[in-house]
Amino acid sequence: MDKELIQQIRDKARNLLEEGTVEGVIGYERASDGVTSRPLFVYNPSDTERLIYDETCAHNLVKYLLDKKGKKMAVVVKPCDSRAINLLLNEGQIERDNVFIIGVGCPGMVETNWNHKSETLQAKCRTCQLSKPVVYDFLAGGEIERQAEEETYSDITEEEAKSVATRRGFWLEQFGHCIRCYACRQVCPGCYCPVCFAERLDPLWLGIRIAPEENDMWQTIRSFHLAGRCIGCNECERVCPVGIPLSLLNRKLEKDVKELFAFQAGLDPEEKPPFATFKKEEVMEFEK
């Protein structure tokens, strides 16, 4: 743990609360296992001492801003998470004036399970090119030198090279494990529809059966609704209790959106997302 960095976060949080700049601060504290971390909501300056920050702080706290609409909140934001702020600003879900962003540099988060912390960096962190959040009001700890690999999507191209039938088999097996707990949706900062298509009753797009056909439709639509919107925090995959490799879906779409529309979500709060705009002159594969 970087004590100095943590002190900066605590001091800032305490200031913001004492001055009344914000109603609450969303950060991290140590989890009940004493090893990993969990989200913490601080409303009382004295509780700021519970705030921590280290390589287990994987949660993307930006999601919680959607619960706190209309309230002034400060939030601890890692570089990858900061893209979610831009996404939500872009989509008019949060107001910039209501959010105080305590940016933190990130050396990369490690793989964790309850009561267990590994030395291995999360896959998304190995290719993360951001040395600091893309948007912040205060940067705790300053920029961090990162030596990231380039994102080559090699796992995606590997999948693409397989036959359609092989891919079908692979995904059906994966979706067969899905228990429709909807943790992937609930943790996602981009999933905020007041009524998700999965809960719409009329028309009933998705049945209640926890069965491959329905699960397949659930995951297909869930990930496609995030096309051009997924900011790559990979929280969905991290929280999946049955280990479905959701990043293979999200990053496939990320890759295609990059190739087809030269767009990456969450980098610019003003840039129009790919499905909100078009170029008259562009020609798609099916038109050739």
Binding site: S32, D33, H59, K63, N113, Q186, V187, G207, I210
Partner: protein
């Protein structure tokens, strides 16, 4: 009398059981250990921490057809699902067995859920005592123990060179393989677990309902259904028809009190709209409503929700927080 079986004996025994039964046992699927029907004894995993999902799914499947609607010449007939075969759940830990015993209470209460009852009657439970406890385990605070034989037909306990076979019920006796020798050695002591002050809290629950604690702890709750679906005692369900090409079935699926439509009526009325109200329902059902109705806490201390909650809402911590709240209230 305790008997002794080597691991080879067990494998042979499972092979025998497979002839007449569906055998559901822990198997390794990618990174997970899951209870699944096996086709051969070698698939069974003996050394595992609690499986990703509890074996409750055998009795209350994630999805099942309750009955199908058959139309013949315009005449409608409803055909209920039948339980076809006897089954054995092999290798379940005592906490999971207690989970099944607790599920019995709502489902076997009259009018009993026939499909559940039939599966229950036709399934034998062969338990496996836990030689090690995980940090998330707290079964001894929830009416069970790592070596608790009370909810299984046979309990196996691993010893150095094999397994102690303890026959608990008559049903268990009928399943026993022939020729097992008596076990005369010592029965190993179960692992010790830290206590959670459940009883104290339950008696105070009525006073805690409107405490601001619920909204505070729910702040970080994502309202996913993980805790409910991994839980051996969560039993809420949904029912709906499934129609495809003239085939109509009434299906029942798992549902969780954390999901958005859970208590929302068609007319648009919902008694639980805040995060705290929704999360509170889960803990009240476990720690207050279920005990009021059936005298037992609807938790077995298996630790799955502790282990799998993405934001570390730890029921043991909730219980001790509630105790603190109670103490603070009575102190002031």
């Amino acid at each position: 009398m305790n008997l002794f079986a080597s691991k080879d004996d067990l494998i042979r025994w499972i092979g025998e059981l497979l002839k007449e039964h569906i055998v559901i046992a822990p198997v390794q699927v990618q990174e997970q250990t899951l209870f699944q029907p096996i086709s051969k004894a070698e698939e069974v995993v003996f050394d595992f921490n609690n499986t990703t999902l509890s074996p409750k799914g055998w009795f209350l499947p994630p999805t099942e057809t309750l009955f199908s609607v058959q139309k013949d010449d315009g005449k409608v007939e409803l055909v209920p699902t039948q339980v076809e075969r006897d089954a054995v759940i092999f290798g379940l830990h005592p906490c999971d067995a207690r989970g099944i015993a607790l599920m019995d209470k709502p489902f076997l209460e009259e009018p009993s859920d026939t499909l559940y009852r039939e599966r229950r009657n036709r399934t034998a439970l062969i338990g496996l005592a836990c030689r090690q406890a995980q940090p998330e385990c707290f079964c001894t605070s929830m009416g069970s123990a790592p070596d608790d034989p009370s909810n299984v037909d046979i309990l196996l306990t691993e010893v150095e060179d094999g397994y102690i076979v303890q026959v608990v019920t008559e049903k268990g006796k009928t399943l026993l393989p022939k020729g097992l020798a008596e076990y005369k050695g010592k029965v190993p002591a179960p692992p010790e677990l830290k206590a959670v002050p459940t009883r104290e809290v339950i008696s105070a629950m009525r006073e805690l309902f409107n405490d601001p604690y619920w909204e505070q702890v729910a702040d970080r709750c994502l309202h996913c259904n993980i805790c409910a679906y991994v839980c051996p005692t969560c039993y809420c369900f949904d029912m709906r028809d499934y129609a495809d090409k003239g085939k109509v079935e009434r299906v029942r699926s798992w549902e969780s009190c954390q999901s958005p439509g859970f208590s929302l009526t068609a007319g648009g009325y919902d008694p639980r709209t805040t995060k705290g109200e929704r999360l509170r329902q889960r803990f009240y059902h476990k720690l207050f409503y279920f005990p009021e109705q059936f005298q037992d806490v609807a938790c077995v201390g298996c630790g799955r929700c502790v282990r799998d909650c993405p934001v570390n809402i730890d029921i043991r911590e909730v219980i001790s927080n509630l105790q603190q709240v109670t103490e603070a209230k009575s102190g002031s």
